[in-house]
């Protein structure tokens, strides 16, 4: 289990550096101990309902042909963060990539690859640094892009500015990378609707669902970012608002819910800061497909979908959930997926006027 750091980030980084320097002084091959981020190293805690990181680590050596590049990437990330903390400035993950590309020594040696591959490498280096230090990247003065759209009957304060989520027009408010300093000023919402798809959010926003049903609607466009997950968690914990997840009827949709509720494998070390154990699944189920006569809109599974379904259904956190196992079995029978967008066949605003209100009213959710 990764320990949370109490030390201030600068000192923590210095301690890691001194440790490596000491190895080098003694003439030993310096290494970093990095917790393994893989399914093989996560544990599901049934009491907290959270995915936690195990204690398996891998040693990353400097003098090892297979390790050296990653080693350099990791300590470069540490040096960049240290510099930012000293200058009290923040940069984006993209900028970290450019800083590594430019090299700290000016030697021009290739620290990261070109383009997307290099971006992935520098992102992973930052993630590894988080694991080694027990600090989040925001604490290390590295931010992700702000993302997603929010609208709803809530007023917040962020960096001295007051923001009314009900007055964000058609685009909504974007969630920053770091939401720790956001204060909830006035809350007139009774629940939160989270969805992955922008198109659904735009439908709900145009229909002013958040006004009619007194709620907040949040979209992430893809897998939820840490900022969005942390914001949802705070609304669940601090405001006691129920969080409903709207997703497609397919293994990937189910997994979006899984990440929000139980935590993810890659970020299992900070599940307690991101996961929302009280989240409810409000997305399409096999029963909905039947009830709303969506059978003819089934998109046939490809091999990769079938494989993913099997994987998801075998995750430990789904194993003892009968309702979910029933859905997996039914999905396996249907051998296909159904998107929320298919509800448009019942009427453009069917989802806003019928589907969501009815499901919430009858508490037709999965947990």
């Amino acid at each position: 289990m990764v320990k949370k750091t109490e030390m201030n980030p600068k000192s923590k980084l210095r301690e890691i550096g001194l440790n490596l320097v000491n190895y080098i002084k003694k003439g030993e091959n310096p290494f970093l101990d990095i917790p393994i981020r893989a399914l093989s190293n996560v544990i599901f805690d049934p009491h907290t309902n959270l995915i936690k990181m195990g204690d398996k680590t891998a040693k990353r050596y400097l003098f090892n042909v297979a390790h050296i590049r990653k080693f350099v990437q990791t300590i470069d990330a540490a040096a960049i963060s240290k510099r930012l903390l000293e200058e009290n400035k923040h940069v984006s993950l993209r900028q970290v990539y450019y800083m590594m590309k430019g090299t700290l020594s000016g030697s021009g040696v290739e620290v990261v690859s070109d383009g997307d591959e290099g971006q992935t490498e520098s992102n992973k280096a930052v993630e590894d640094l988080e694991l080694i230090t027990g600090l989040t990247r925001e604490q290390l003065n590295i931010n992700a892009k702000k993302l997603g759209s929010v609208a709803g009957k809530v007023i917040i304060e962020d960096g001295g500015d007051t923001i009314d989520w009900s007055k964000q027009g058609s685009g909504g408010w974007s969630v920053p990378s770091n939401v720790e300093n956001i204060k909830f000023k006035k809350v007139n919402a009774k629940f939160v609707l989270y969805m992955e798809k922008d198109a659904i959010w735009e439908r709900l926003n145009e229909d002013k669902v958040w006004n009619k049903l007194d709620c907040v609607i949040i979209a992430s466009q893809g897998q939820a970012t840490r900022g969005i997950r942390r914001l949802l968690q705070r609304m669940s914990d601090e405001l006691r608002l129920p969080i409903y997840v709207l997703a497609d009827f397919d293994p990937w949709g189910f997994y979006i819910y899984s990440v929000l509720k139980f935590g993810s494998i890659a970020l299992s070390h900070i599940s307690d800061r991101l996961a929302i154990p009280k989240a409810h699944y409000l997305g399409l189920t096999a029963d909905d497909v039947e009830k709303y006569e969506l059978t003819k809109y089934v998109i046939k599974f490809k091999d990769v979908d079938i494989k993913r379904l099997k994987e998801v259904s075998e995750y430990e956190w789904f194993k003892n959930r009968k309702e979910w196992q029933r859905q997996f079995q039914l999905m396996n029978k249907i051998k296909g997926k159904v998107e929320l967008d298919a509800l448009v066949t019942k009427g453009v605003s069917f989802i806003s006027e019928k589907y969501i209100p009815e499901k919430i009213k009858s508490v037709d959710v999965l947990n």
């Binding site: 490596l20 393994i36 297979a66 390790h67 240290k82 993950l93 897998q223 990440v259 970020l267």
Partner: protein, 534 residues
């Protein structure tokens, strides 16, 4: 070619007359004269093989000179000179002017030529393409004879155009033969130069000077001892083809079958001979030359059925590991060579042995397919590599075990030269052109065993070299990253960059860290693909 010639001459009298021109024209492709390029190589090859055989048999260290000059477009003068024993005046015309006349055809002995087709074939080709006679200068140490001869193609008889005799104050001995023939000259993989280079490789006790159209090349003598002279043996019944059996029956001195079988074959005693006759249902007192075609077939069959011990194998003369290593090293400039000479063994009644030599590193080309040098009775094989037992054996050997890369069904890759020498009293060529060895299972197996043995010896060296090279690569990789590592660590730890860099260099120079281990599972699991960026 001395006392053997006498017997051979007698034997040749009994040969049926053949229309030589017809025979030659029909078999041009089999004899190596199917195109002008190959014809030129074949002429050089036949003359040189004879020169080497002659000197070696007389226990003389061969000194060979080969001259090839273009005298007109697509017309070449070819001259080969040796320091062998020479041929006596009376035998000169027959030795060069009659096809299928030779000292080697009716005996089983490891030698380069066998059929009496070589030199006269070259002369005939020259005569057919340019109409010019061959010039032959010979001396046994006494006077020097210079003759010009042509072949009467209808009679298969030599025709002397001129004959000069000169004094020989220096007691020179040897043969100089010169012809003018149509041809095309090339240099490259299948060329006169390559043939001579490989000949120098398998005959490191010979000095060969080549004066070609593009200048002189000398192949120096690397060792001063000749390999032991091969012994002549009688054929073993298991190895006799029916055609040869028929000819042996015609020319034998034995008066009856039992005498023929015991006298003209090896490993056949009286009781085995009687058994063969009984199996063939033949009268053992029958005259050998009175057998009918059907009876010969029965005899041949019976000879394969009776149980006999294998032929003697001491008749073979390998080059030996030392000569092979010297030869390969000299011509390829390999850094490391290792040779293996196997003990003789038998295929179909014919004794044979395999020797191989592997060369590695040095001036051999890097990252290419291994070079394969094939030899049969010390003669390089330049063509039809794909059909050859040697190629098959190389492909079937697992070279990855010895530190080379190899895709299945392919020759290995790397700085590697493979020399394979197949020595036998009877080389099973796939055709009369004598360019590829037939893939008898016993032969392929024996070559593979030799390659494996040599491969194992080489592997230790290759591995050591590979480790050294990888070490250097690693060292280089580490060195490149040290400035960046020092700069980053200096910033994190707030200690001077210089001292970190010095200490890192110390670790690197100690060398221990350069042997590195593989990374343990630090890669993120596949499960994470859905969470690329959060």
């Amino acid at each position: 070619m001395t006392e053997q010639t006498v017997i051979a001459e007698e034997l040749a009298k009994q040969l049926r007359a053949v229309s030589v021109a017809e025979f030659f024209e029909k078999n041009r492709h089999l004899l190596g004269y199917e195109n002008p390029t190959k014809a030129l190589i074949t002429i050089v090859k036949e003359f040189t093989d004879n020169a080497l055989d002659a000197a070696e048999e007389a226990r003389i260290l061969p000194d060979i000179k080969v001259v090839v000059k273009e005298v007109a477009p697509d017309r070449f003068k070819v001259r080969v000179e040796d320091n062998g024993p020479g041929i006596v005046e009376e035998k000169l015309p027959l030795a060069f002017g009659k096809l299928l006349y030779g000292s080697k055809f009716h005996r089983l002995k490891m030698s380069r030529g066998t059929q009496g087709l070589g030199a006269s074939g070259g002369i005939l080709y020259a005569q057919l393409t340019t109409g010019r006679p061959a010039k032959i200068i010979s001396s046994t140490g006494k006077e020097i004879h210079e003759i010009e001869l042509m072949i009467d193609v209808s009679k298969n008889e030599p025709k002397i155009i001129s004959h000069k005799e000169e004094k020989n104050p220096n007691k020179w001995h040897g043969i100089k033969i010169e012809v003018e023939a149509e041809g095309r000259y090339i240099e490259g993989k299948q060329s006169i130069l390559e043939y001579l280079k490989q000949t120098a490789m398998s005959n490191p006790y010979a000095k060969i000077v080549y004066d070609g159209p593009n200048g002189k090349v000398e192949f120096e003598r690397a060792v001063k001892e000749l390999p032991p002279l091969p012994k002549e043996i009688k054929p073993h019944p298991y190895g006799v083809e029916i055609g040869l059996l028929r000819r042996m029956l015609e020319i034998t001195n034995a008066r009856n079958l039992i005498g023929f079988l015991t006298g003209d074959f090896s490993r056949v005693g009286r009781s085995s001979a009687l058994q063969i006759c009984k199996l063939a249902k033949l009268d053992c007192n029958k005259k050998p030359n009175e057998l009918t075609h059907g009876e010969i077939e029965l005899l041949h069959k019976a000879m394969q059925m009776v149980k006999l011990i294998g032929p003697p194998t001491d008749c073979l003369s390998p080059l030996g590991e030392k000569l092979l290593e010297e030869g390969l090293k000299k011509e390829t400039k390999a850094e490391f060579v290792v040779a293996v000479t196997r003990s003789p063994t038998v295929y179909r009644g014919n004794p044979f042995l395999v020797e191989v030599c592997l060369g590695f590193g040095g001036e051999l080309p890097q990252d290419q397919t291994a070079q394969l040098f094939r030899f049969a009775n010390k003669v390089p094989l330049l063509y039809h590599a794909g059909d050859c037992a040697t190629t098959e054996a190389v492909i079937e050997t697992d070279w990855r075990r010895y530190g080379f890369s190899q895709s299945s069904g392919q020759l290995p890759q790397g700085q590697l030269a493979i020399l394979i020498h197949f020595a036998s009293v009877w080389v099973p060529y796939t055709s009369e052109g004598k360019q590829a060895i037939a893939s008898y299972p016993e032969i392929v197996k024996e070559i593979k065993l030799a390659l494996q043995e040599a491969g194992r010896k080489l592997a230790t060296y290759v591995r050591h070299k590979n480790i050294e090279r990888e070490r250097a690569l690693r060292q280089n990789l580490f060195e490149r990253y040290l400035p960046e590592v020092s700069a980053a660590l200096s910033e994190i730890s707030e200690t001077p960059r210089n001292s970190i860099e010095i200490n890192l260099k110390k670790i690197l120079n100690k060398g221990k860290v350069i042997e590195s281990v593989k990374e343990e599972g630090i890669e993120d699991g596949e499960e994470n693909r859905n969470e690329s960026e959060e």
